[in-house]
Amino acid sequence: MSSATLVARRVLAAAASHGAEEAGAKTWKILTFVLAFPGVGVCMANAYMKMQAHGDHQPEFLPYSHLRIRTKKFPWGDGNHSLFHNGHTNALPDGYESSEH
């Protein structure tokens, strides 16, 4: 038998004996703390740094007719504010509510 075949057989045998553990609770516990949580941590750090970088940016207000549709009043408050309205980043149809940021 060629040396390549012998090497392949050895690798497969090693994989098979490791698979005897059948990916149990222990494996998924390890994956949780070695892969999943560090992945979340890296993304948390990344999001935080990116947020610090561009900070409080208020998009310029241009009175486009295809945005800020008010065909029907919202059924709450004065009917002119969306449910998650943010005075700093969401302009009303006439413009931002106040000039302060």
Partner: protein, 261 residues
């Protein structure tokens, strides 16, 4: 005392299907009335009735299965089919919203500026919080799998820990998404971009909340010794549902957040 000569579950008469149907009627008509006639009464009544139905119906199923032994293997097989069919129907539900998104975004009309995202829309950076949300849900998929194996191996404490972590990750996702909704420079009223974004992600968020609740009930049941290493279908159903929620998010992320930005 009479005994059945088969392994199936002939369910006792129950009022909950009727109260559930009445709740659905009150909720739908109530929401319409709220939007047009400024009254929340019918909608609130429907919500209360829905919550009562949910609590009592599922409490009864737990009693029938865990305490009265009605969930034999063939019965459990039927429950599995049921959950798979339900999740399949939910897949089609979301397919509709993806259809709407692609319909509008692949051929943007002149009113939008003939482009996607439409003129004047500042999209969210897909590599900020949306990427974090992706990591959170993927991580919760790992922890829920850890929980499943723990239950199958009879590892009570690990099952409780991993299930708790899964639920916490679910809460974290909901919190992050709520924050994103508040900080977003566009609203649901911003044309078809706003509509497709908030309806698709909004229904997804609702499903995250439902999935987290389902998992929380499983946690309570695990603590109270309801599950055995061989019989824990309630948990399996919750885990399937949770994976479905995760997969829907992946499609949302790639379509709306990434391609659509």
């Amino acid at each position: 005392m009479a005994h059945q000569a088969h392994a199936y579950h002939m369910v006792d008469p129950s009022p909950w299907p009727l109260t559930g149907a009445v709740a659905a009627l009150l909720l739908t008509s109530g929401t319409a009335i709220w939007m047009h006639f400024n009254s929340m009464s019918l909608m609130s009544l429907g919500m209360i009735l829905l919550l009562l139905t949910i609590y009592q119906w599922w409490r009864d199923i737990i009693r029938e299965g865990t305490f009265q032994g009605h969930h034999t293997p063939p019965v459990q097989k039927g429950l599995r089919y049921g959950m798979i069919l339900f999740i399949t129907s939910e897949v089609f539900f979301f397919l509709g919203f993806f259809w709407a998104f692609y319909h509008s975004s692949l051929a943007p009309t002149p009113e939008l500026g003939g482009c996607w995202p439409p003129t004047g829309i500042t999209t969210l950076d897909p590599f900020e919080v949306p990427l974090l949300n992706t990591a959170v849900l993927l991580a919760s998929g790992v922890t829920v799998t850890w929980a499943h194996h723990s239950i199958m191996e009879g590892q009570r404490k690990q099952a409780i820990q991993s299930l708790t972590l899964t639920i916490l990750l679910g809460f974290y996702f909901t919190f992050l998404q709520g924050m994103e909704y508040y900080e977003a420079p566009f609203t649901i009223a911003d044309g078809v971009y706003g509509s497709t974004f908030f309806v698709a992600t909004g229904f997804h968020g609702l499903h995250v909340i439902i999935g987290s609740s389902f998992l929380a009930v499983c946690l309570l049941r695990q603590v109270q010794f309801h599950f055995t290493s061989k019989h824990h279908f309630g948990f399996e159903a919750a885990a399937w549902y949770w994976h479905f929620v995760d997969v829907v998010w992946l499609f949302l992320y790639i379509s709306i957040y990434w391609w659509g930005s």
